[in-house]
């Protein structure tokens, strides 16, 4: 555990700068015979293949950074209960986003997740009359079930398919209502398909999402003018350079219920597993316009531990 804590506090930037080198010598020349690691009677050894538990998306579900995938959190398979915890920061020109969360993967079938999002408006808060450094907060409780298929094995044309639901609760009810949102809480529904095409070393994910969320729910749900569910699309493509290193891009479409010019999201990401239980993710994310302040592009950084 001590060792884990030490790894968890490794400067993210340092690991990223090492990633391309590590990609080549990710495995030492003659690695000792793998040893089982177990943290209790619930868990087996690290039963999943590296990185096949995904990283934690900002909604708290396992996936890429900004899109949810059909993966199940944690490193356990059919007999085990796996855990995953993450801390994420997105550094934007006008805002500072931070989130953290915990998820449980039961028997590689059911994923339960919780994430807390904190969105610091910094100077914009003053400009919007909320006060400098006003911070929007949101809790997200998610459940995702793997319906069928396997990310890695089986027919290459049969992906792993999962269905999920997320209950999002903004903690800024009066303000999101004042901005024009119809609700301060809402439900998202997702259907995802993920496959690692081993013959090309390429992982592909597509997700359909029914949502009313404004900026992911941080600005509430729906609006008085537009309170219906809309179908949105999330996509991710990643290339696997080694067992421990992937590079990819993501896209996520979003509604603009509030008429504030809300944009779709894009990112380019690198995920690297320096140890079997730690994943570091760095991305360059383009979040477009947020609350009328455009050009929100910046660094997405995440550290995740999983068992």
């Amino acid at each position: 555990m001590n060792q884990l804590l030490r790894y968890a506090t490794l400067p993210v930037a340092l690991a990223i700068s090492h990633a391309p080198v590590a990609a080549q010598d990710a495995l030492p020349e003659k690695e000792a015979v793998p040893q089982p690691s177990s943290i209790g009677s619930f868990t087996d050894y690290n039963a999943k293949l590296l990185l096949t538990n995904g990283v934690s998306a900002i909604d708290g579900a396992s996936g890429g950074g900004i899109s949810d995938w059909a993966t199940i959190a944690g490193r356990q398979e059919s007999r085990g209960v796996g855990f995953q915890a993450h801390v994420t920061a997105v550094l934007l020109p006008d805002y500072l986003y931070q989130s953290h969360g915990l998820s449980v993967g039961i028997a590689d079938r059911l994923e339960l997740s919780y994430a807390r999002q904190n969105f610091d408006t910094r100077e914009v808060g003053a400009a919007l009359g909320l006060g400098r450094g006003y911070t929007f907060n949101q809790d997200i409780f998610g459940a995702k079930v793997r319906l069928f298929g396997d990310v890695v094995y089986g027919d290459e044309l049969l992906p792993q398919v999962s269905a999920g639901a997320q209950y999002k609760r903004s903690l800024d009810g009066p303000i999101v209502n004042a901005v024009g949102a119809a609700h301060d809480n809402g439900l998202d529904f997702t259907l995802s398909a993920t496959k690692l095409f081993l013959s090309r070393s390429i992982l592909v994910n597509t997700t359909a999402r029914l949502t009313k969320s404004n900026q992911n729910g941080l600005l509430g749900f729906g609006s008085h003018a537009n309170d219906g569910y809309a179908l949105h699309f999330e996509g991710a493509v990643a290339y696997q350079f080694s067992r421990r290193f992937v590079l990819g891009g993501e896209f996520r479409s979003k509604p603009d219920n509030l008429g504030l010019g809300e944009d779709d999201w894009l990112d380019i990401f690198a995920a690297y597993a320096p140890t079997d239980n730690l994943t570091l993710t760095a991305a360059y994310a383009d979040l477009g316009s947020i609350a009328t302040f455009g050009g929100q592009r910046g660094a997405f950084l995440q550290a995740q531990i999983a068992f």
Binding site: L27, E29, K30, E31, V33, P34, Q35, P36, D44, Y45, A47, K48, L49, Q76, E77, S78, R79, G80, D108, D150, V152, Y153, G154, D155, E156, F197, L198, S199, R200, S201, Q240, F241, S242, R243
Partner: protein, 176 residues
């Protein structure tokens, strides 16, 4: 007095007859290895390349990336060593015919990589029936194969291309 009586009785005991076949008595099955190949004979089965469970690659490039038959042999030797020594899965391999496994796995990989071999082993379903392996065990086997291929310097994309041929066999080699 009592002591010497006991000793006397002790020395009067018959030694156990050496005609008793103790293996028979405790129903121990002895494996008769073929003296020339060192393998344990199997029940008869139909030999066919189709038993390898995958369509081989075309052309020579994959075989070249794996270092030809010599490279494939080194990979399989190391792969089998790793599997038998891996505490996660050693119990499943224990007691199985390691000599035969080294030969048949070599043939299978060599056949699939189009490096000039025929596969003479059994099909994946019947050879893995009753082993009780789970997907987690398959993942362990895959990690060991990745390790063996890495040590032989097989480029990662080529490693994945071989795994792509093996991945569809999951339903045959995993039971739970």
């Amino acid at each position: 007095m009592l002591c010497s009586a006991i000793l006397a009785l002790f020395f009067m005991q018959q030694p156990p007859a050496d005609t008793i076949d103790w293996d028979e008595e405790f129903s121990v099955e002895t494996v008769e290895r073929d003296p020339s190949t060192g393998e344990v004979p199997t029940d008869p089965y139909d030999q066919s390349n189709a038993n390898a469970g995958a369509v081989p690659f075309e052309g020579e490039s994959m075989a070249a990336r794996f270092g030809g038959q010599d490279g494939i042999r080194r990979i399989v030797e190391r792969f089998v060593d790793l599997n038998f020594a891996d505490p996660r899965i050693a119990a499943i391999f224990e007691g199985h015919d390691e000599v035969r496994l080294r030969r048949t796995l070599f043939e299978q990989f060599c056949y699939i990589l189009n490096a000039g071999c025929d596969y003479t082993g059994r099909d994946m379903r019947s050879s893995h029936e009753g082993l009780g392996s789970r997907k987690a065990d398959l993942n362990a086997v895959v990690e060991n194969l990745q390790q063996a291929m890495h040590e032989e310097g097989v480029p990662f994309a080529a490693q994945n291309r071989l795994l792509a041929k093996l991945a569809p066999m999951k339903g045959d080699v995993v039971e739970r």
